[in-house]
Amino acid sequence: MATPAAVVRPTRTLRKPLISGDELAKAFTFFFAALIIVVTFALVWQLWIGSSPAKEKFGFRFLTSSLWNPVTDEYGALPFIYGTLLTSFLALLISVPLGVGAAIYLSELASPRLSNTLTFLVELLAAVPSVIFGLIAIFSLVPLMRDYIEPALQNAFGSTPLFSGPAFGVGYLTAGMILAVMTFPFIISVSREALMAVPREQREAALALGATKWESTWQIVLPFAKLGILGSVFLGLARALGETMAVTMVIGNDPAIHASLLAPGYTIAAVIANEFTEASGKMYSSALVELGLVLFALTMLINGVAQLMIVLTTKKGSAKA
């Protein structure tokens, strides 16, 4: 072959055959990936459409009214929103200190082997179905609360409205406690990741200045992992807000607002679980669907914040590592 002259060919991009196996495979798998978007969109759409009779009739009053009366077809969501937020708040009040404390132990003190084993066990706890938490709560936590803990709280703080009224065993506090147990696997496992992503140099710098182990952890490591830990808290919160079965079994099913933590109440998820199949009228079921929409919006908001925070810390940790 003779040496050809150096011909400048026109610049070209890479070309492929019109329909290749790869294009087919791409189109085929895209169909299924797109299904995820279609289904999610359909879900939001159905919630929106299904709740429109209630939205039209009650408008914004739906969120502020505390009247829930299927007989007169009057529906207000406030007792459920209150119950949902209160039980989730109580849950976090218990699970955040416990969970973050445990996460500190697992990331800073325990040997890697012990840490991994304990984390594995905690994550197993996250796999326990919620109906089983409810089952155990009904037969162990509820009597325990009714017969011992709630009377003790009344004796100690009965003068404050928070702990007044009779002890039922079921109610906001009991639901909050069971939710706490259900959320701390998330808080522990995500916080531990965030703490372990803190560069070793940060700890060593503090220790080299004469800080105690606790001081270095509390003043340096925790602030560094702050966003990730907050993310874990929001993740736990999202789970607590949407949690249905365990709460339904111990909340007491009372659609009213009570100041006392010992009183029975209701949550959004619980009222849907209990009343959806019985909702006879169009307005009744529409109101329940609107509750579903409210719950959806609430958890999406919290989940979004959680994801953002976790992403931000992971980035920060890896950038400085």
Binding site: M1, A2, T3, P4, A6, V7, V8, R9, T11, R12, T13, L14, R15, K16, P17
Partner: protein, 294 residues
């Protein structure tokens, strides 16, 4: 300099076109007769198995290769050397179009195999004809046997052929048969690193490639395993055209017939290996060879 027997005619030195390699017929002015049984005394010119012309390559906005024109002589070993990040691996990976599987990349210019532009051909056929061996051994998580037979199977080369024969032949060509024949059906990961790399060579040879591209094939291997692979390459060149990227200049000197020197995405010089190492025509090449940088 002008006393060197390998010294090239002045016109071939491409002083005015710095990024272009020499034509291989300039490098081998007394080429061996092409046909084996040739009775004629006519010296046939050496054929270029592959030619690249004015190749530019971009990762996103970053231009990694600048106007590379190079010829690879049939049945020769061509080494590409240069400091890390000089584009030699990128260039090698354009030759079988494996780079286009990376996102956001762009190629300009032409690359021909036997005179046909590989950019116009079916990419899988091109890759079958041009084998590749990677920096780290990358056997599939399958048995040794299944690793070898993978290429022939997907390329429909098993019809009317004995699969076991293909496996044995490929392993023999890669000098791995004696070590592997008793554990053909064990996982490829049971082999040592050097054996895994020879398995990858055998896997590439199983589809009868016309060219073999090797991307720093010995960088993860010990000296003994490296020596085995170098011997292997010299033996293989009668059957295919070999291009090897290496950061090890001694390796280039030992195995390559011609050597191209890359720097900052440009081809500085391409000439017979002993010229590159004894008497390079470019200052940059000389600096690199004598260790003045890198």
């Amino acid at each position: 300099m002008s006393t060197s027997p390998y010294m090239l005619p002045e016109k071939a030195r491409h002083q005015d076109a710095p990024s272009h390699g020499l034509s291989i017929n300039d490098m081998f002015p007394t080429a061996i007769p092409h046909s084996a049984g040739a009775t004629t005394a006519v010296l046939q010119p050496l054929t270029a198995k592959m030619k690249t012309e004015h190749v530019n390559f971009y990762y996103g906005k970053f231009q990694a290769l600048h106007d590379i024109s190079l010829e690879f002589a049939s049945n020769k070993v061509t080494a590409l050397i240069g400091p890390s990040g000089c584009g030699k691996s990128t260039f090698l990976r354009t030759l079988n179009r494996i780079n286009e599987t990376l996102r956001d990349t762009r190629l300009e210019g032409s690359i021909t195999l036997d005179g046909e532009n590989i950019l116009d051909k079916d990419v899988t056929e091109i890759r079958r004809r041009i084998g590749m061996v990677f920096q780290r051994p990358n056997p599939f998580p399958k048995s040794i046997y299944d690793n070898i037979i993978y290429g022939p199977k997907i390329n429909g080369m098993l019809k009317g052929k004995n699969a076991a024969e293909i496996v044995e032949k490929s392993l023999r060509r890669a000098a791995l048969w004696d070590e592997a024949k008793d554990k053909l059906h064990e996982s490829a990961y049971a082999l040592s690193g050097g054996q895994q790399q020879r398995l990858c060579i055998a896997r590439a040879l199983a589809v009868d490639p016309e060219m073999l591209l090797l991307d720093e094939p010995c960088s993860a291997l010990d000296p003994i395993a490296t020596a085995k692979i170098e011997d292997l390459l010299v033996g293989l060149k009668s059957q295919c055209t070999i291009v090897i990227v290496t950061h090890n200049m001694q390796q280039a000197a030992r195995v390559a017939d011609t050597t191209g020197f890359f720097l900052l995405g440009r081809l500085i010089e391409h000439a017979k290996t002993d010229i590159i190492f004894k008497n390079p025509s470019k200052k940059e090449t000389e600096d690199y060879i004598t260790g003045r940088f890198g």
